[in-house]
């Protein structure tokens, strides 16, 4: 079986393409190198066969590298991407990372720098494509946490999945806290464990960090695994009465969460077309969902037009409310807060509310 990885190099400089082609072919994993002299040609090649890695210049005629990466992010989300450029500009670096590139590298000017670049590329090629966490091949996050706990270590795990960041505190082999997207404790832990892939770093333990999780790690892992299995399993057929019985407590819980957090209303708009929006605390669900759709479309167009990266959130202020629109992986949420709510805390409060919403 041919297991050679394929790398696509996109640069308008033919000499440079040839030089990097030869250098990359010498990597220990002996990847197959393809080249393209423009963004559109590169995109056409990506459509024609599966690639492992894209290395792209920024300054190119017709379509610049950021435009290429913007399309790649949408069309080939699994593809590893590297920017190799002479553009020493923080704005471009920020934008490239906002578009989800794995590596932004200035074109090497020394032999040592070149060697480092090639090592990084080899490392990127070695990462597991089928999921799992970078650094520990073919291991799920559950495995990693179990290993940390079994070794009785104290550490802070920082897990990154795209724009999402989660942190898990382990103290002397015990899980003590977790945090992501405004959620803390067990809900945050469950949410992080749902991530199938990403990167993780082991950071120095934070001595004296407040403990919010008291359940034994194995019990929590088991519960979470069961919950994940249940959500991924096909739904059993239930009668209308049974469905109503299931839905009612959830509605009550959500309304309680609204009151507890101090929000006026929440609207959840599923990404799947043809699915109805759900609203709590408002009679104008359909109307507001209509605005959400318009806002999402407008922002998607602006994101594409400007290569400004994905939409993180929208905040709005009216006479009666402060609004926060949060696009999540399966749903987009619109949260209405009272007009006198602290605007500096709204983003975090909204993320917290949304993090526990479907738990």
């Amino acid at each position: 079986m041919d297991a050679r990885h394929k790398i696509l190099l996109v640069d308008d400089d033919l000499d440079l393409l040839q030089m990097y082609k030869e250098l990359l072919e010498q990597l220990p994993s002996r990847p197959e190198i393809f080249t393209a002299t423009s963004g559109p040609r590169g995109l056409a090649l990506l459509k024609s066969e599966p690639f492992r890695l894209l290395i792209c210049d920024l300054r190119m005629p017709k379509m610049d590298g950021l435009q290429v990466l913007s399309i790649v992010r949408r069309s080939f989300p699994e593809l590893r991407t590297v920017v190799l450029t002479a553009a020493h500009d923080e704005e471009f670096r920020t934008r490239a990372y906002a578009l989800g590139v794995d590596l932004y590298w200035l074109k090497p000017d020394t032999q040592q720098n070149l060697q480092q670049f090639l090592q990084c590329i080899e490392s990127l090629l070695g990462r597991d494509l089928e999921g799992g966490f970078r650094g520990v091949q073919s291991k799920s996050l559950m495995d990693i946490i179990q290993m940390e706990c079994l070794s009785q270590s104290s550490t802070l795990l920082r897990i990154t999945r795209g724009s999402l960041v989660g942190r898990i505190w382990i103290q002397a082999g015990e899980l003590t806290d977790a945090e992501t997207e405004g959620a803390r404790g067990e809900p945050a832990f469950r949410r992080i464990l749902e991530w199938k892939s990403g990167t993780f770093e082991t950071l120095a333990p934070e001595v004296g960090h407040e403990r919010t999780i008291f359940k034994p790690v194995n019990a929590l892992l088991l519960e979470t695994a069961q919950a994940i299995d249940e959500t991924s399993a096909p739904p059993p057929s239930a009668s209308a009465d049974e469905e109503e019985q299931m839905v009612h407590p959830k509605t009550v819980w959500r309304l309680a969460a609204l009151t507890r957090e101090g929000a006026d209303f929440v609207i959840g708009l599923p990404r799947q077309p043809g699915t109805d929006p759900e609203g709590w605390g408002t009679e104008a669900t359909q109307e507001l969902a209509g605005w959400m759709k318009v806002a999402l479309e407008a922002c998607e167009e602006l994101s594409e037009l400007l290569d400004a990266g994905p939409l993180a959130r929208i905040e709005g202020r009216s006479l009666d409310h402060r609004l926060v629109l949060l696009p999540e992986s399966e749903k987009t949420f619109l949260i209405g807060w009272p007009a006198d709510a602290d605007p500096n805390r709204l983003a975090d409060q909204s993320k917290h509310l949304v993090a526990t919403w479907d738990a």
Binding site: L66, A284, G290, D307, A308, G309, A312, E315, G316, R317
Partner: protein
């Protein structure tokens, strides 16, 4: 040197994110602008149209917005409603 540069090939560039502010009327016409002229007017027109569209749609659903902030990965767009028009601030994230 200046004469030679006539024959040199123009280097391709990367489109920069617009930075600055613009004031537009209700029809999306730019009345005042501090955004670099390197940013095509068509891009500014598209930004203002989308922003005005969001204000208009919000009015239609009975939540007239006075201010709107769109947070993208590398750009923040803040807009304040001005009697049907808007003042729009474009701020790339460093």
């Amino acid at each position: 040197m200046g004469r030679l540069s006539i024959f040199s090939k123009a280097k391709p560039t990367v489109q920069r994110l617009p930075s600055g502010s613009l004031t537009v009327d209700g029809n999306g016409r730019v009345l005042a602008c501090t955004v670099s002229s390197a940013c095509p007017p068509e891009t500014l027109r598209q930004i203002s149209n989308r922003v005005l569209q969001l204000f208009l749609k919000a009015r239609e659903v009975q939540i007239p917005l006075a201010e709107l902030t769109l947070q993208f990965g590398s750009l923040q767009i803040t807009a304040r409603e001005l009697r049907g028009g808007a003042i729009i601030f474009l701020k790339p994230k460093a």
